[in-house]
Symmetry: C2
Subunit: 213 residues, 2 copies
Amino acid sequence: MSNFGFSVLRVVNPYDVAFREARSAVGAAAVLESATEHPDLASAIADCTLVVGTTAVGHRELKHPVRRLEYGARLIRRAAGPVALLFGSEKFGLSNDDLSRCHWLMHIPTRDEHASMNLGQAVALCLYELARDPQAARKAPQAMRPASAAELERLTELLLETARKSGYVNPRTAASTEEKIRRLVRRLNLSERDAAVWFGIFRQIAWKLDHHN
Amino acid sequence: MSNFGFSVLRVVNPYDVAFREARSAVGAAAVLESATEHPDLASAIADCTLVVGTTAVGHRELKHPVRRLEYGARLIRRAAGPVALLFGSEKFGLSNDDLSRCHWLMHIPTRDEHASMNLGQAVALCLYELARDPQAARKAPQAMRPASAAELERLTELLLETARKSGYVNPRTAASTEEKIRRLVRRLNLSERDAAVWFGIFRQIAWKLDHHN
């Protein structure tokens, strides 16, 4: 909850000892400290204008619309008032009475062969999907600035010089070797910064080749 | 892993006792049974053509491209060969040596104030994002068939009849009351099936009102 910025935790009829002794993850103490206890579901959701239950579909015939997490999260983000997202116990899930108090249900798209999930993981997935940024899937937010043609050519020239000094270039096939190396460098998809580092490496190698002979 | 259809688990230099005594979640025994142990990271990732490290950005200056999960998962889905997704220990994450063996890094978009995550939850989120269907966010897969205008009007007529029989309709304002109820019914967004159920309920009420008077 704390990872994705959700702070209101309401616990319905918890097993007292476990709840009192529960310890929060590092950095998430505030969530647990401000959690409230409720004798029943109705009082826990009283102020909510949208109530969404979570379910591993398939266990029983559901008489409610069931939405995949991807779509359900979109509807929840658009809701006007406070939204309750209900999770049942790890062992039994939500009861039919709980489900009947929901506007609709949401399920996580697991494999059909393995639909039951760890409670903590299910909560994390739902809150991640709510906090997720669909735009972020479309572009690299920290894309490296790619090297320009001039920077690549500068590196290529140095690389060719180094190759010649090392004896790699056969004079009879020099022209095709040069073209090959030029293409190889373009396929490296170098960033501006990495191109500069490679330039430094080869300049040192070229210098050493000069002072070795 | 099993929830989202991932089956190859490779464990690098595990603490022997913990690994031997590890118990899988219900239904996921196959993943743990087929897990392989490796003395170092290099041997664990030897056959992979793309190696992606996971990190809670911010702990150290990262000298590698870092991609948000939403975008990174897209790149991983497009990869041609086997992909390794690396997770470090819960306490320390991946070492700088581990990170230097990655093609790039991926981070989960948590709040800046609370970036460190539970390992099991982090793994679940990454695999969910990989298995996630972007199309599913755009349309309700199990949308109910909405009631037609004729069905809504049939229900409205019955409701008006019931309202009249109950004495709700003041004859002087009958016309505006009818319009109000007609609009109320349209705003219910009824499905075909639910409209039929409401029709049954009001037919019974109307019958009872007749046999009461």
